[in-house]
């Protein structure tokens, strides 16, 4: 039996850069950050908070999925996920209902893996306010299912007829990697032919912003962007269509890239403590993911680091990268400096940009002033052929993951 290879055949993305891969690429290659003052009309008045800027998704609409009824029963995180997943299905030339006759695959052979951190908190806060100011009778019948973490999983899976495995990962900023690894493993093991995998995040709601604010994880707006004292956060959703390579070839759809290697592991440290030592586990998992992809560190053309996130994490990540790449590290792309850290949606978005970079043979630039460390500086553009991207992620408490994204043969 030949090995089952994980191909990417579709990308749907809705981020502060706008909707679709063209908009994403245009913004990322402009190198200009799209972090702006939080709009009080759309979200909340940011003035009581130290950090008052965030990556915000421009208004969007999609009548095929966002019907009046769907809008009424879902949080923004599900709405963005529905649009991103639909666009990914469109690009992969898949129907929007796997139960339909024109589906090339049985619905039970399709799986779904969703990453989110905040899930439907905008909805939950509204329901809390209704409950506490007007009583139980004012609560909405979707209060639980719109707000809880499994909301987007249910809304996407039900609408598109996903009858295989569906799971939601809530492992903070590592959740996106966990969802993609889940999808890749499902394809590799033969549990599914197609997996809709990605993440969605709508963290711009007062109590959630207060949680980030109080924990001092966000960079105060009064400090310059070059100081890097904390995270900038954005909202958005990106979903990928993962497909068994032979299945994609039989369907005659373009293979955009492949996920060739993955690994995850933990270097736990006390929360709140700063850590500047290189994480040995991160070094190990990078090597493990490269070994699975059958490449040496020197073959990596571009790295998408987990940062910029929390400054101490970034320092530890840089030290680990220096261990792996032994002085000759590849170029680095940092979409998070442009979009903000999209939390549960960050890894899928980084992978989407990696796929676009490999397809276009261009590494997107990042303004030096937005880069937190020396390592992150972009080098002179080299002429070498771009073949492999390494996408890293780290969740609070030292959860590391590494993904190898490669151009198809």
């Amino acid at each position: 039996m030949t090995e089952r290879v994980v191909a990417i055949t579709g990308i749907g993305t809705l981020t502060p850069a706008g909707r679709g891969t063209e908009a994403l690429w245009a913004t990322i290659s402009s190198g200009r950050a799209c972090l702006t003052a939080i709009d009080p009309q759309n979200y909340f008045d940011p003035s009581p908070y130290a950090c008052q800027i965030a990556g915000q998704v421009p208004s969007f609409d999609e009548p095929r999925v966002l019907t009046a009824s769907m809008m009424a029963q879902t949080d923004r995180c599900s709405q963005m996920a529905l649009v991103a997943a639909l666009d990914a299905l469109d690009e992969a030339r898949l129907p929007m209902d796997f139960r339909s006759e024109r589906s090339p695959v049985a619905p039970e052979r399709v799986s779904l893996a969703v990453a989110t951190v905040a899930a439907g908190w905008t909805y939950v806060e509204r329901e809390m306010r209704n409950l506490w100011t007007k009583g139980v009778g004012a609560m909405d019948r979707y209060a639980l299912t719109a707000g809880f973490p499994a909301g987007p999983q249910g809304h996407v899976g039900i609408l598109f007829g996903v009858e295989g495995r569906t799971r939601t990962f809530v492992s903070e900023r590592a959740s996106g990697a966990h969802a993609l690894i889940e999808g890749a493993k499902a394809i590799q093991r033969g549990d599914a032919e197609i997996v809709i995998a990605g993440g969605t995040e709508a963290p711009l709601t007062p109590l959630v912003w207060a949680a980030y604010h109080a924990s001092n994880m966000l960079q105060p707006t009064s400090e310059g962007a070059d100081q890097h004292t904390g995270m900038f956060i954005g909202e958005g959703s990106t979903f990928l269509i993962l497909e068994e390579r032979e299945h994609a070839i039989r369907r005659d759809v373009p293979i955009l890239a492949e996920i060739r290697g993955w690994s995850r592991g933990t270097d736990a440290y006390p929360l709140g403590a700063s850590r500047k030592q290189p994480s040995q586990k991160l070094v190990q998992i990078i090597h493990a993911s490269l070994a699975q992809a059958h490449i040496h560190p020197a073959a990596v053309d571009v790295i998408f680091p987990a940062g910029p996130a929390l400054p101490a994490e970034d320092v530890a990540e840089e030290a680990a990268l220096k261990c792996v790449f032994d002085g000759e590290y590849p170029r680095v792309a940092i979409p998070k400096a442009i979009l903000g850290h999209l939390q549960g949606a960050a890894v899928a978005t980084d992978v989407a940009i990696a796929v676009l970079a490999l397809g276009r043979q261009v590494i997107p630039p990042t303004q030096d002033s937005l880069l937190p460390t020396d390592l992150m500086s972009t080098n002179e553009c080299t002429a070498s052929f771009l073949k492999h991207a390494l996408v890293l992620s780290c969740g609070l408490g030292g959860m590391h993951a590494s993904l190898v994204i490669s151009r198809p043969e």
Partner: protein
């Protein structure tokens, strides 16, 4: 193929906070259900409690173990404390050498919760907004609130407590995820991602917004508000919904050869797992979804390489809602055929209510203990048969059991079904 066994267990439940108390309570047919008015851990119901149609809950009583937890854990939400307590119990029970770096390098965590920190998030919201009347004042939010709000903080805190280096994953796929997380950990070991996995579920949803979210869609029990101990009655004709509960469970899962080599006590082997989606409705479990649960049962049976006649006990989801119990009965018949009538099917929720993700974890624990203790706990409050729920539900009395394979079922909001086959250890 790497095989996976259970070598440690831990529990915090409405029937007690040791495996022994949990099992004795279940076997004796005791109800852990009480009136919402008697809730002890959450004062948020004082103002709003009377407004809910359902007035019954299953609360963890006297969680005195909390006093022994590390100080930084005692400051966290109840669901975090439950999780850490059951994890410590399971690791102790497995007699694992936690000082060994060889063990810690290949040891991971798979955690689940359906809603996370219900009480602390609502307390904080009320404090920061003057009970919803004003905008959130961030100055009133504690610096550590982020750790309560996150749905994976128990996993992170445990990874740090044990200094382990394997995967540290957290799933939140609604109420089926108690079984799903066991399956996920099982596959992590089988696939070589880890040698040991701590699989755990924790839930403490008893706060007004989460309780109300279920109350307003009429899925909570309302029929026996004045007799709480009769309120949770799976398969009985007069069932009216589930009783929201709380608690946590943990299994220490281990690659079989590793467990044998270190001479660990083995409770049971996990031999099959199934996971499907019905893609039908966020909350409804109408009879049309039965084939999707049937499919999940067949997946687990196929993986375990067993036939219907090899299944000797089923621990069902049996939430005591009208729809679930009917649909589940028909799904079991779909997978087992006529043989379904010969298999005992007892509902753990009849005694301890429905603690969302943890509920099906409790079901898996009851199934393991049935294999090791040679008894089946009863479905209590079974008084009037429902012709649409006509399987042997072990009504009201525990009975001796000598079977080899147990099947555990779970269904959840968002349309998921998860199943597990547990096998008795020979000898």
């Amino acid at each position: 193929m790497r095989r996976v066994v259970i070598t440690g267990m831990g529990v915090v439940s409405p029937l007690g906070n040791t495996i022994d108390a949990f099992w004795r309570g279940l076997i004796s047919g005791r109800s852990g259900i009480k009136s919402l008015k008697d809730i002890t851990h959450c004062d948020l119901f004082e103002r709003l409690g009377d407004e809910f149609a359902s007035q019954v809950i299953a609360e963890v009583e006297q969680f005195e173990e909390a006093q022994q937890l590390p100080e930084h854990i005692r400051r966290r939400d109840r669901y975090v404390q439950f999780a850490v307590e059951v994890a410590l119990q399971a690791v102790r029970d497995a007699h694992l050498d936690v000082s060994s770096s060889a063990i810690r390098d290949h040891w991971g965590i798979a955690f689940t919760t359906a809603v996370g920190a219900a009480q602390t998030t609502e307390d904080t919201y009320c404090l920061a907004t003057q009970n919803g009347s004003e905008a959130v004042d961030p100055a009133k939010v504690s610096p550590e609130f982020y750790l309560d709000w996150l749905c994976n903080s128990p996993a992170v805190l445990l990874a740090q407590l044990f200094d382990l280096h394997g995967p540290c994953d957290a799933l939140s796929s609604a109420c089926a995820s108690g079984v799903d997380v066991i399956g996920y950990a099982f596959e992590s070991i089988r696939d070589g991602d880890a040698t040991i996995m701590l699989a755990l579920s924790s839930e403490a949803p008893l706060a007004p917004t989460r309780f109300g979210g279920c109350d307003v869609i009429h899925c909570l029990a309302t029929g026996f508000n004045d007799e709480p101990q009769r309120a949770s009655r799976p398969f009985d004709k007069n069932r009216s919904g589930f009783v929201m509960g709380e608690g946590a469970g943990a299994f220490l899962l281990e690659e079989r050869e590793h467990a044998i080599k270190r001479g660990a006590h083995i409770y049971a082997e996990i031999t099959g797992f199934g996971l499907t989606s019905n893609a039908t409705h966020m909350v409804s479990l109408k009879p049309a979804v039965a084939p999707h649960l049937t499919r999940a049962i067949k997946q687990a049976m196929d993986e375990a390489k067993i036939k219907p006649q090899d299944i000797h006990y089923i621990n069902p989801h049996a939430s005591s809602t009208n729809q679930n119990d009917q649909t589940e009965t028909s799904a079991i018949k779909g997978a087992l055929g006529e043989y379904a009538y010969e298999v005992p099917v007892s509902a753990t929720k009849s005694e301890i209510g429905h603690s969302l993700a943890t509920a099906s974890f409790f079901g898996a624990m009851a199934a393991v203990l049935s294999l090791t203790e040679g008894m089946l706990h009863p479905t209590i409050n079974y008084e009037e048969p429902d012709p649409l729920c006509d399987l042997d539900c072990v009504p009201n009395q525990a009975r001796p059991f000598t079977g080899t394979n147990s099947l555990v079922l779970a269904s959840g909001f968002s349309g998921t079904h998860a199943t597990l086959v547990l096998q008795k250890v020979a000898g």
